[in-house]
Amino acid sequence: MEAKVAARPVVRVQMPVPPEATEGMLPAAERELKMTARDVNVWYGEKQALFDVSLDIFDRSVTALIGPSGCGKSTFLRALDRMNDVIEGCRMTGEITLDGEDIYSPEVDPVQLRARVGMVFQKPNPFPKSIFENVAYGPRIHGLAGSKAELEEIVIKSLTRAGLFEEVKDRLNESGTGLSGGQQQRLCIARAISVNPEVLLMDEPCSALDPIATARIEALMEELKESLCIVIVTHSMQQAARVSQRTAFFHLGKLVEVDDTVRMFTNPADTRTQDYVTGRFG
């Protein structure tokens, strides 16, 4: 039954955002494009998962992708480092660039691409090896260390950047799987950043963690975004509000709205975004 409710005029007041509140937000002039997506469509077999998604992703900032389950946000994230390539029946049209270069061009080696675009998954997935080896693996296969000392330096630096070194420095040879969930996730972040990626993709990195471990990861993201481009998929709108400077809202495979995070959570332009962030979706 169609509800007969007269459309209520939406009065839109542009709220000026104070400069301090946008701390970490990038002024328009300083926005440096890192990745772009243009008219991206993705199909899993017959089913279309993404419809004409175009999105700019800026360097040295956190971009959050939010939306209800099945909205295509994870599909979009995986398209950014060609993780969809390995899924059978997955097809894509459109263009995704990294520093202006098409990452789907035949010249691009997906393995090299994934060194530049790192990924952290929902469930911490350390290798069943020592803490040291977990972090050393990437730099070793990519030939980043010329000597054992250099490799050690990279491992220590990565663990330090991931905020884990102090906690594990006395047991680098113990298994990574013996750490707590939050520590494992930080180990995975250390592993991802050990190969000096330019972009870090995070697929619900905190959904298996308690609030304190979550806060640690969020603090870490704040540090890392000073030098990295971070894209995070999160089910938690609150997390998106906390950690990101830009937020993109996906719904039914379409990008509904993208804007500065403060604007998205205080005065979004689209009523669907408004309904989602206020918990009225239905």
Binding site: V17, P18, E20, A21, E23, G24, I212, E218, A219, F265
Partner: protein, 244 residues
Amino acid sequence: MMDKQHEHIVRSYEEELELLNNKIAKMGGLAEQVLGQSIDALERRDPELAASTINEDEAIDALEREIEEQAVVMIARRQPMAYDLRQIMAALRIAGDLERIGDLGKNIAKRAVAVVSEQQPKQLMLGLKHMGELALAQLKEVLDAFIERDADRALKVWYKDEEIDAMYNSLFRELLTYMMEDPRNIGLCTHLLFGAKNIERIGDHATNIAETVYYLVHGAAITDQRPKGDTTSSTPVPLKRSAG
């Protein structure tokens, strides 16, 4: 007094709370300045000081808007809980009170301009000045209590407001007497009466802030009844001059 809080794991959250605190402190400093100068301007009959005081109120208003906006953004982005939530609510409320104090101070400065050419009875001016000084001391004290998160200090301010009320009562009576003595005094006395009322209102806002500080620290409202000293609203005015 509240124990020292642990810092947030996310540093920027800590910085934002600190910024909010600093803005309240700055706003409080400006409100003190406006109040102090407006009373000086009135006492010294200094129209220039009055004019610059009137202008300073704008900075207070601007800070209030900034604090409101920052609070909204922090509620949206940080989802504050418990003590953090109270800090943000307290900042909003205190900013509102300080803005009113600024306005009332500005109003006193305006009256200082209005009465510049009038001959002022020393006795009355002295009373008004003392009242202003007491309100200023109350404001200073409550702002310190906020910065220190000291609920006991705030509570003392809360109780002490009675003194301002009592001074206002006696000034009210004195001004009435002057007006009855000579109708030519009415213009000046009305301005001074409004000035005194403004100071009395400033005292009330200081007690509001004291209540907010108490709430911030303890998470509960002050339950005690505040002694009310302002009885002028129920003081009968003799319509006819009594003979003699």
